[in-house]
């Protein structure tokens, strides 16, 4: 969603019309697992920083394939996280288990591809342009009386 995310945030999230939830999907084993773990551990320190590292990870997506622990630590620190607290979380088996549990839950919900979007209970797949999001959101907001 990164391509359309800024517009959705500007026009719908910042205006209070939409709450945006990011649910991680693990499709590529360790690179996916540790990217998600990094985001979750940064978010534990400060939910605002979750969205900072979320953007950084998507922007540097190609680097994630060969990323190691140091890469993720540096990324977390660059996002404003405390290094010691982050490393403690990153190395915590419970934190890793939580990441895997989130992935299990999305499977149970029938989410088997990505990106997919649950908008008011309806699942939309692919990477639609902003106009498609706007059309769906505007119709739902209109029916909700907003």
């Amino acid at each position: 969603m990164l391509g359309t995310e800024p517009q959705v945030i500007d026009e719908y999230v910042q205006t209070g019309k939409v709450k945006l939830v990011f649910w991680p999907v693990i499709n590529h084993n360790d690179p996916s697992i540790y990217s998600t773990l990094t985001a979750q551990c940064v978010g534990r320190q400060d939910p605002e920083k979750f969205w900072v590292v979320h953007e950084m990870l998507f922007t540097e997506q190609r680097d994630l394939w060969g990323a190691d622990r140091d890469y993720f630590v540096n990324t977390a620190v660059a996002a404003g996280a405390d290094q010691a607290a982050f490393e403690s979380c990153y190395d915590d088996p419970n934190a890793l288990a939580e990441v895997l549990q989130l992935d299990d839950i999305r499977r149970q919900r029938g989410i088997h591809g990505q990106p997919m979007f649950d908008i008011a209970g309806t699942i939309y797949g692919g990477a639609p342009p902003f106009e498609s999001f706007a059309e769906v959101l505007d119709a739902l907001l209109l029916s909700a009386g907003e």
């Binding site: 999230v13 939409v18 709450k19 939830v21 590529h28 998600t36």
Partner: protein
């Protein structure tokens, strides 16, 4: 002969008086001229421009600009125009009228749309746009927790 002399004396005496009257008239004339000259100078001094002759036109221009600004202030579209009834005008002193004009101007100013504040440069430390938090499930959200709509974005970072 003595009668003739007596007549000459009275003529001389009359001429002397005439001469005296002429002096008085002359003095009166001088006094009047002096007064007229003084009046003229005083009037000329009172009507002359100040030494810094360029300031007065600027002040007049500024006053004209202020007047023009007051007359061009926008009026709220959703409120009726403020017009004073004749009774109000008769009973309201001038300062109150000025106050109402000021209030009308303030109301007009308050109707202007708010200006947007530009966001800081992206190179600085990122500033949170809106509320963010973590749900009971352990995932993170952005936006009003009570927003009418929720988008769940299922995505892999790769």
């Amino acid at each position: 002969m003595s009668g003739r002399n007596r007549g000459n004396k009275s003529i001389v005496s009359s001429l002397t008086w005439l001469k005296t009257d002429g002096d008085i008239i002359q003095r009166m004339k001088r006094l009047i001229i002096t007064l007229m000259l003084m009046t003229f100078f005083l009037a000329a001094c009172a009507g002359s421009p100040p030494e810094s002759g360029e300031i007065a036109p600027q002040e007049e221009l500024a006053a004209a600009e202020v007047q023009e600004t007051k007359t061009t202030l926008p009026r709220p579209t959703d409120e009726p125009a403020v017009t004073a009834s004749p009774e109000t005008e008769a009973n309201t002193p001038e300062p109150a009228a000025e106050t109402s004009a000021t209030q009308a101007a303030e109301q007009a100013i308050s109707v202007e749309p708010p200006t947007l504040t530009p966001l800081p440069a992206p190179t600085e430390e990122p500033v949170p746009l809106v509320i963010s938090g973590q749900t009971d499930d352990g995932v993170f959200f952005l936006g009003d927790p009570n927003a009418p709509l929720t988008i769940i974005d299922y995505s892999d970072f790769l």
